[in-house]
């Protein structure tokens, strides 16, 4: 069968074998990781899929952008401006408190989509009958979610950092002043992305129904702090101290206070008065355990 025209001919050559490269498992895993990040932000889906992630990410960077603009204005006011700026509620050490709810909502909105969709629609057999293994699939998804969270969480810190460097009267001085904060906010962001991402992955992997997964993720972050607040105010601190390390939101408030050496913005964290390293250790253990259990889920899931 052929079609001829003035420009040449088109031939139906029938089925063509593929002789190009087969990049194998690593390429497939990397590709799934990229695909996960894109899905996290609704890229490659319809417009509606982009609303939640971009709105949440937008709100997360808004205070940082405002703070930078405000600092620029304050710098024009001369010496008096410095005092105004120091009183700003938007600082590296306060930022976690400002946006942790947004990160939680991002998890609740996106993790069920990442983990539930393939289970709900029976797509898993198609993945597992290809070159990637079950752990490959699970890791690409979990790490993809964590990486997306890291971007959302880290972006405002970076805006704040760059803004403060350039707003300073002497950018070189500004840089040396601000550089010390970088490892702190990077570490805090890593812990936030890891723990929120790990918990959301675990819940979403076990709860294919989207609405239930979303509700469960919100519950895990919201309910323990409420219980703790009640325990802390009604009983001795011993009980609160015993359970606070099982409350992800409080653990991350604790790591934030420990890492920045600031006063915790959660009254419960302040009241129980645990050493800071315990929160960091709890977050690290939480990440390892949730990732491990998510992998286990995918090793055993029936297809």
């Amino acid at each position: 069968m052929s079609a001829s025209g003035p420009g040449g001919s088109i031939f139906d050559l029938g089925y063509q074998s593929y002789t190009g490269p087969r990049l194998g498992r690593q390429s497939a895993v990397r590709s799934l990781f990229n695909h996960t990040i894109r899905s996290c932000f609704g890229i490659g889906r319809g417009g509606r899929a982009k609303i939640a992630p971009f709105t949440l990410a937008g709100i997360a960077v808004l205070p940082a952008a405002l703070a930078v603009g405000f600092a620029a204005l304050a710098a024009q006011a001369g010496p008096a401006g410095g005092a105004i700026e120091d009183a700003s509620p938007i600082r590296y050490d306060s930022y976690h408190g400002l946006i942790s709810v947004l990160i939680m909502l991002f998890c609740a909105a996106q993790a069920p989509e990442l983990f539930g969709r393939d289970q709900r629609y029976g797509v898993l057999p198609l993945y597992f009958s290809r070159v990637l293994t079950r752990p490959d699939y699970a890791l690409a998804k979990v790490v993809g979610l964590m990486f997306s969270l890291l971007m959302v969480d880290l972006a405002p810190y970076l805006i704040l950092f760059v803004g403060r460097v350039f707003v300073a009267p002497d950018p070189a001085m500004g840089l040396s002043d601000e550089l010390g904060a970088v490892p702190r906010f990077v570490l805090q962001s890593l812990l936030v992305a890891g723990l929120f991402g790990g918990i959301a992955s675990l819940i979403a992997a076990w709860t294919p129904r989207r609405a239930y997964a979303t509700a469960a993720i919100i519950a895990v972050f919201i309910i323990p702090p409420i219980i703790l607040a009640i325990l802390s105010s009604q009983t001795s601190q011993d009980l609160a101290r015993a359970v606070i390390l099982f409350s992800p939101a409080d653990v991350l408030a604790g790591t934030n206070a420990a890492i920045f050496g600031s006063l915790p913005d959660s009254p419960v964290v302040a009241a129980v008065d645990l050493p800071g390293w315990m929160y960091v250790a709890a977050a690290a253990v939480g990440i390892v355990v949730t990732v491990g259990l998510t992998l286990r889920r995918y090793l055993r899931i029936a297809t």
Partner: protein, 319 residues
């Protein structure tokens, strides 16, 4: 190279169900039908061949690769179309199949090119840019086939490819399977419980029941064991049988039908004369082909009771 080789393959599920029981089989490339009732072990066998389920005991190789240790390599060259729904409704066929090509390790440009080509081959054109959720069952089956073909496998494993299709859709899907096997040069294993369908596309047939091998042979061996003539009369079948036996023919009455073994043309005359002499009202005379349904009706109970010798296909008449 043998395509698939099984040696004493057994698979037991944790709750004591034996899905495959000592299967030994050697298959050459071609279009292979895997038939058996629901629960016969077809899907289990496919999953073992994909390296997704480990065998409890025994050996299985695909393209000379051991399924236990070289699953990843095998899966690079095998395409799998599952029995059930496996498509996300909110993605277009193009996006989905491209993604699946990437998951098989194809570079992104190649993945897009192969997707376009494969979707054209399965007969999806403009609609491939629309979300899969709006597709008919027939279109979804085509997408399922496309994702199994996109990485140009050497072996295609199709689990009930005509599931849920209307007769026209079945015909199209079977033609597509046939074309894949013959024109594309890809070995195909089609699992189905519908014998009539398998019969239309396969060169070679493997029949299993309760995890045991009933028979593995070229399709011709299953269907061409003719020689049984059925003579239906309205009355007097006993007299006719007696008359034929008297002429030295093997004949048995089965209801109002007399079944007999015909080995030479002269015997048709004998039958005609016998009917005429007795003055019986003849309804029909037909050559009975040993159909697959007959094979199953007779073999399944025997096979379930004892391991049937593979060569004994009783059929409807005296052997």
């Amino acid at each position: 190279m043998s395509l698939i080789s099984l040696h004493d393959l057994t698979r037991r599920y944790p709750r004591g169900v034996t899905a495959l029981d000592g299967l030994t089989l050697d298959l050459e490339p071609g279009i292979i039908g895997l038939v058996g009732a629901n629960g016969a072990g077809k899907s289990t066998l496919i999953k073992i061949l994909l390296g997704l389920l480990p065998p409890t005991s025994g050996e299985a190789t695909v393209m000379d690769l051991d399924v236990r240790t070289e699953g990843t390599t095998i899966r690079q060259f095998v395409g799998y179309m599952p029995e059930y729904d496996c498509l996300p409704p909110d993605t277009s066929a193009t996006d989905f199949v491209t993604h699946m090509a990437r998951m098989s390790g194809l570079p992104s440009t190649a993945a897009r090119e192969r997707t376009a080509e494969v979707l054209r081959h399965v007969g999806l054109y403009e609609e491939r840019y629309r979300a899969i959720g709006g597709y008919s069952t027939g279109m979804k089956q085509r997408v399922k086939l496309a994702q199994a073909l996109v990485h140009d496998p050497r072996l295609l494993l199709l689990d009930e490819p005509t599931n849920g299709l209307d007769p026209a859709g079945r015909d199209e899907m079977l033609a597509l399977v046939r074309r894949t096997g013959t024109e594309f040069g890809i070995a195909v294993v089609v699992a189905s419980h519908l014998l009539g369908e398998i019969e239309r596309v396969c060169d070679f047939l493997v029949a299993i029941d309760a995890g045991r091998l009933l028979r593995a042979a070229p399709l011709g061996d299953f269907t061409e064991r003719t020689g049984v003539l059925a003579v239906e009369v309205e009355e007097g079948e006993a007299a006719l049988t007696a008359a034929l036996v008297a002429h030295g023919l093997l004949a048995v009455a089965d209801g109002r039908t007399v079944l007999l073994n015909v080995t030479e043309d002269r015997q048709y005359d004998l039958v005609r004369d016998a009917v005429a002499d007795l003055g019986l009202p003849l309804v029909r005379m037909e050559q009975r082909r040993q159909s697959l349904e007959d094979l199953f009706r007779d073999e399944v109970p025997a096979g379930a009771a004892a391991p049937a010798p593979p060569a004994s296909v009783g059929g409807g008449g005296p052997a």
